[in-house]
């Protein structure tokens, strides 16, 4: 009797294991660690990916981490996936850490980052020539502050973001002064402040972000970016200087630790297949930051509306 019971137990557990294997066609049960940063868009991207991977049977852990500092963790394999690495701000870090192959670029998220000079629409009354960049010099004074007067004041991104705005002002002979904000918080704090007072402001805004949906305004139209514009002085309006055009629009990349592919090849494929549209993301972000929904609710909503799409990622 006892023997039979034992055998029965073994058979049961074998069936259970087989069954489990069928449901979860998964490599390792260790948790895959995805990093969370401090802006909503990234939280949404990461949570969608996490939910999809959970559906595929993977074990997921979400870990708050700094945008750049996380690379140290990705490199050593303490962290595994970072869902948003912007071409525009993360290029140096990507180059630095993918060089020895311990961090890999998993391809684009399908979203494109836009970064450009931006102004609120109430400024159009004072400067009707906008968004054409040629109007910038005519209304420089309308954008001046006591410190920059008579030049216009342009609030650029932190120096670490690059962007060549100082060079751009020079090349396009703009009567503007570039002031660098130290961080993105400071940048939007100034926008909020100016918007409340309907005061003049011209600053660096990027999308996808909640700011373009919260405040009404436009990007300035510069001569469109080409590679030659940044490398060849003779290109463009100013024959003697490079950077006489707008900023490049770069993809948002996904990066991962190289161990992801070895340990969870299926998850790697799913992450590689992940794509979202910039507009779609803009709407999701607005739904969280402007309508006050939680990230979880928005993600759950997206999951139930897009079953086919994410279903194809984990096939």
């Amino acid at each position: 009797m006892k023997v039979i019971k034992k055998k029965f137990n073994i058979i049961l557990s074998v069936i259970f294991i087989l069954f489990a294997q069928n449901v979860y066609a998964v490599e390792s049960k260790d948790p895959i660690k995805l990093t969370l940063h401090d802006w909503t868009g990234q939280l949404i991207t990461t949570n969608i990916m996490a939910e999809v991977l959970k559906e595929a049977g993977y074990n997921i852990e979400l870990i708050p981490a700094d945008y750049i500092a996380q690379f140290a963790g990705l490199q050593t394999g303490d962290l595994h996936v970072a869902m948003e690495m912007w071409e525009t701000t993360g290029r140096d870090a990507i180059d630095e850490y993918t060089a020895d192959g311990r961090v890999v670029n998993v391809g684009s998220t399908g979203m494109d980052a836009i970064e450009e000079w931006w102004y609120p629409s109430y400024m159009k009354e004072k400067c009707p020539g906008l968004p054409n960049w040629e109007a910038l010099n005519d209304c420089a004074e309308a954008f001046a502050t006591p410190e920059t007067s008579p030049k216009g004041r342009y609030l650029g991104g932190p120096v670490t973001w690059g962007g060549y705005d100082d060079e751009r002002v020079e090349a396009l002979e703009l009567d503007w002064e570039v002031i660098h904000a130290g961080t993105d918080g400071a940048l939007f704090a100034e926008l909020e402040s100016a918007y409340q007072r309907k005061a003049p402001i011209m600053l660096w805004v990027y999308a996808p972000h909640w700011a373009p949906s919260k405040y009404s305004g436009e990007f300035v139209d510069f001569p469109p970016y080409t590679t030659e514009c940044y490398t060849d002085p003779s290109w463009g309006i100013n024959k003697n200087a490079a950077y006489d055009c707008g900023k490049p629009r770069g993809p948002i990349w996904k990066v991962a630790s190289s161990m992801l592919k070895d340990k969870w090849p299926g998850a790697y494929d799913a992450i590689e297949a992940f794509t979202l549209d910039s507009n779609e993301m803009g709407n999701l972000v607005a739904s969280v930051d402007l309508d006050g929904n939680t990230v979880e609710a928005v993600v759950a909503d997206w999951m139930s509306n897009n079953k086919d799409r994410w279903g194809s990622w984990i096939k």
Binding site: D38, A72, T76, A181, L187, S193, A199
Partner: protein, 662 residues
């Protein structure tokens, strides 16, 4: 003697005049001799410290090996040891005991609920028998629940519960070692200086690689930053012990070890507790930075709400940090002041542990009730308060109605105060600046200090960061001047008036533990990005020691001197200006010294509002993941701090000798 004095004055004045000549005519002189290098250190002569440092650190953390195991294995196992107690505490008060990992994990035992945590803090406070403290602590914990900060606070609290004891123990240990051996003290003191003054951002990346990404790295960064005051106070306490006590210990036949742990350490307990207090405060200061490297908790909430420009959310989380700091600090202080029971009376087990037994029963009761009523498990959501809208409206109101006034105020201060200082520092040719610094070192501390000042400032020049170092000096200098102008009068007031003292202490504790990120956004909204905003942030943070040390100095003047003055017929005003203040000057100087240290440690934060100083260089190093660049800029900050510290301390000692105070 008198001749010497006059000679000193003449040298001083002529040096000052020369400095101004160089400042006004620096450019002309440089042009005349066709030597621009006087004004700007040539770039190609800058020594590539940064590149060498990067290579070395990379080799250390990626390749260095001791045969059987690598350097990283050592650091990683160290991390593992710290991680175990942390995980335990985290499980008890925040996560619950889980089985499995990730979303597969199942809850075996739920964590202590808010009702239980209140019970624990209440019991702890009961031991101190201080009614005011009991109320304070309970209200503090309730704040966390009511303002929906519970989850994050408990994560932060767990890291504090682990970091503070480790910091205190290591601090006492190193302190004792330094006390016993002069050699060790000589080695450790400069290391302590660096630990306190190199901005944390500078070594964040190497720490992450060594100890792994997550709470442990954050804990280690916290301990590095918070431990030095503990070492210092331990050395101070042991050195100040009455030699008679030590002798009586030796006479009663203590072994070396007994003498240390049974006599000297217990005797110096009151001083040691000041160190503990500092460790708690500094650990809570680190909460924000720790959250950037995976600690989560309240710091992460503050950062995330700033990213959304949710001023109120940031303030609520920030105040939660303050509330935790004040509750823990006051608790630890009253425990310090408890009379130690030495009588060995026989009491029954029950009377001895009555409170703990009650607490355990209470926790079990709450736990059981929790399975029936969710009130005992989670604080009901409909009772929570959210003040976001209020703060937003407040800032909006000020912004719309007073922006122009604030702008005028700002521009006046900028043109007549800050810009002249900036021009002054940037205008002096660097060789002359080094000579002046060395001479100042000579005046206060003879050859040794002069050599130190010379070597450290030459290092800064050769890194090619001189320009940024001067902007740093200008920002710190103007902030310290204003902070002293505000802080010293407040300190005097607190020293003379007990009620004012109480209010000011609470105010200062708040300023020091409220993360600067919280007020950065409103300040930017009202004053725009730039040096002025940075200065306000620095002043708010660095004000505390100026008040504290001044108050301490004014309060602790020898009573006999005051009585003598009163007998001589001093009016209160004379007493203050002729007796108390001059005698408090050495202490006030130390306060200014600490203000400078705090101002320098705020540098990295000011980089976030767009300054172009060394702090920015450190920040660039971090965001570009350039280890060497960050570390070298960090060292420059540290060296400025060390020069300022040594000169002021030497000055303070000179004054103390003059007044015959010890």
């Amino acid at each position: 003697m008198k001749n010497n004095n006059i000679f000193n004055k003449i040298t001083f004045i002529s040096l000052l005049l020369l400095t101004f000549v160089f400042y006004w005519y620096g450019k002309e002189i440089a042009n005349y001799f066709d030597s621009k290098w006087i004004l700007k250190y040539p770039k190609h002569h800058a020594f590539p410290f940064a590149i060498y440092t990067t290579t070395f650190v990379k080799w250390l953390i990626n390749e260095a090996s001791f045969g059987l195991f690598t350097f990283r294995d050592v650091t990683r196992s160290f991390a593992w040891i710290i991680e175990q107690p942390y995980n335990l505490v985290l499980a008890i008060i925040s996560k619950g005991i889980l089985k499995g990992q990730g979303q597969d994990a199942t809850l075996i035992l739920s964590p202590l609920s808010w009702v239980s945590i209140i019970g624990i803090f209440f019991t702890l406070a009961l031991y101190t028998k201080d009614k005011f403290l009991i109320i304070l602590v309970v209200f503090a914990i309730i704040y966390l629940a009511v303002f929906d900060q519970w989850q994050s606070s408990m994560i932060t609290l767990s890291s504090i519960i682990i970091a503070v004891p480790i910091g205190v123990l290591l601090g006492i240990l190193f302190g004792v070692l330094c006390y016993k051996s002069q050699l060790i003290e000589k080695i450790i003191t400069p290391i302590l200086d660096l630990m306190q003054t190199v901005p944390v951002f500078a070594y964040l990346v190497p720490i992450l690689v060594m100890f792994g990404f997550g709470p442990v790295s954050a804990l280690i960064a916290t301990i590095i930053y918070a431990m030095p005051p503990m070492v210092r106070t331990t050395i101070l306490a042991l050195n100040n012990i009455d030699p008679q006590i030590k002798e009586s210990g030796i006479m009663s036949g203590c072994t070396d070890r007994q003498l240390m742990w049974k006599v000297l350490i217990p005797v110096s307990k009151p001083t040691l507790l000041i160190g503990v207090n500092q460790v708690i405060m500094l650990s809570l200061n680190m909460v924000i930075i720790a959250s950037m490297i995976g600690a989560g908790g309240l710091g992460y909430d503050v950062l995330a709400s700033l990213r959304r420009l949710d001023i109120g959310g940031g303030i609520e989380s920030g105040i939660a940090i303050v509330v935790l700091a004040i509750a823990l600090d006051r608790l630890s202080q009253s425990f310090a002041n408890l009379p130690t029971l030495t009588k060995k009376t026989r009491v029954s087990f029950y009377t001895k542990y009555k409170k703990i037994i009650f607490l355990l029963l209470y926790i079990i009761g709450v736990y059981l009730l929790g399975s029936f009523f969710s009130f005992f498990k989670f604080f009901p959501e409909n009772l929570m308060i959210n003040t976001s809208a209020f703060w937003e409206e407040l800032v909006k109101y000020i912004n719309i109605n007073y922006f122009d006034n604030l702008e005028n105020f700002k521009i006046t201060l900028l043109t007549y105060f800050m810009l002249p200082i900036k021009k002054f520092f940037l205008g002096i040719p660097w060789p002359w600046f080094i000579i002046i610094i060395t001479l100042i070192g000579w005046y206060f501390g003879k050859l040794k200090l002069a050599a130190l000042c010379f070597v450290l400032s030459v290092f800064i020049v050769t890194t090619g960061l001189w320009q940024k170092a001067m902007i740093t000096l200008y920002l710190c200098g103007s902030s310290v001047i204003i902070a002293s102008l505000i802080g010293i009068p407040l300190g005097i007031w607190a020293g003379l008036n007990k009620k004012a003292d109480k209010i000011l202490t609470a105010f200062i504790d708040t300023l020091q533990t409220l993360p600067s990120f919280v007020y950065l956004i409103p300040v930017v909204m009202l004053f725009r990005v730039g040096d002025f905003t940075a200065m306000i942030a620095v002043i708010l943070y660095a004000l505390a020691p100026a008040v504290r040390y001044t108050a301490h100095g004014v309060k602790n003047i020898n009573n006999q001197i005051i009585e003598a003055a009163l007998i001589c017929g001093c009016s209160p005003r004379q007493l203050l200006f002729k007796i108390k203040l001059p005698l408090a000057i050495p202490e006030i100087l130390l306060g200014i010294n600490q203000t400078i240290m705090l101002a320098l440690s705020m540098l990295v934060i000011t980089a976030l509002v767009g300054t172009r100083d060394l702090g920015q260089e450190v920040y660039i190093g971090l965001t570009k993941a350039d280890i060497g660049r960050g570390l070298i800029a960090g060292l420059c900050v540290a060296f400025i701090a060390i020069i300022a510290d040594r000169i002021i301390k030497a000055g303070s000692n000179k004054l103390k000798n003059k007044y015959g105070i010890k």
